[in-house]
């Protein structure tokens, strides 16, 4: 069964360092999402791609976060510099199309700890 792949699964870094997360969506899925899930809360959308284009990055802290999906397939989320408050689970999801009837499939996430 096709799955969304994410790496690394765990990342520990010190504040002010740069970190990067990678996501490989299910093949053929045009829509890709990055979410942040703080412990004890539900996921919150950071950025949404349709193919290689960003369609929503309104909740992305653009002074330190960046995301790209250059060829419309896999994606990278970067934080530079990391802050203590960035400690969270970062989830990637993909969907076949943008229609709400299409299910979003989630990867296992990257758990980030900033010391």
């Amino acid at each position: 069964e096709a799955e969304v792949a994410q790496s690394p699964r765990y990342k520990i870094t010190e504040k002010s360092q740069a970190v990067a997360f990678w996501c490989d969506p299910i093949s053929g899925h045009a829509t890709l999402y990055w979410y942040r899930q703080i412990l004890g809360q539900g996921p919150e959308l950071l950025v949404q791609f349709q193919d290689e284009s960003v369609v929503d990055d309104s909740q992305l802290p653009k002074d330190r976060f960046s995301a790209e999906r250059l060829k419309g397939v896999d994606s990278t989320l970067k934080i530079q510099p990391a802050e203590l408050g960035d400690s969270a689970m970062y989830l990637c999801a993909s969907r076949l199309g943008a229609d709400s009837y299409n299910e979003q499939f989630f990867g296992p996430g990257t758990r980030l700890t900033v010391l």
Binding site: P43, S100, Q104
Partner: protein, 116 residues
């Protein structure tokens, strides 16, 4: 703006007894609603979804949910809990935006514990 409120942060049941996880939503139009489950160290998995068809929605693993517009509720139920149901459950509403680029809005989650 759309939002969801999960009324219980923790629910504890005995194996074999019914499960009820409560969710209220706020939406200015007929929403799409979902329940997702998150097991430790695993990705979120869709349990079921409501998209304006039948108000009683059946999902995987024996779960079902009923959409009640008059009460703005979408509670998740299961007749008999199993130990493997222990997980975090999220009620989700789809925020309909222009261009069809809908956005999922998650509740804070309900942690279900099942004891023998």
């Amino acid at each position: 703006a759309q939002s969801v409120t999960q009324l219980d942060s923790h629910v504890s049941v005995s194996e074999g007894t019914p499960v009820l996880l409560r969710c209220n939503y706020s939406s200015s139009y007929s929403p799409s609603l979902f329940w997702y489950v998150q097991h430790p160290n695993k990705g979120l998995q869709l349990l079921l979804k409501y998209t304006s068809a039948a108000t009683l929605v059946k999902g995987i693993n024996g779960f079902e949910a009923e959409f009640k517009k008059s009460e703005t509720s979408f509670h998740l139920t299961k007749p008999s809990a199993h130990m493997s149901d222990a997980a975090e459950y999220f009620c989700v509403v789809s925020d309909r935006r222009s261009g069809g680029y809908n956005k999922l809005i998650f509740g804070a989650g309900t942690r279900l514990a099942v004891h023998p």
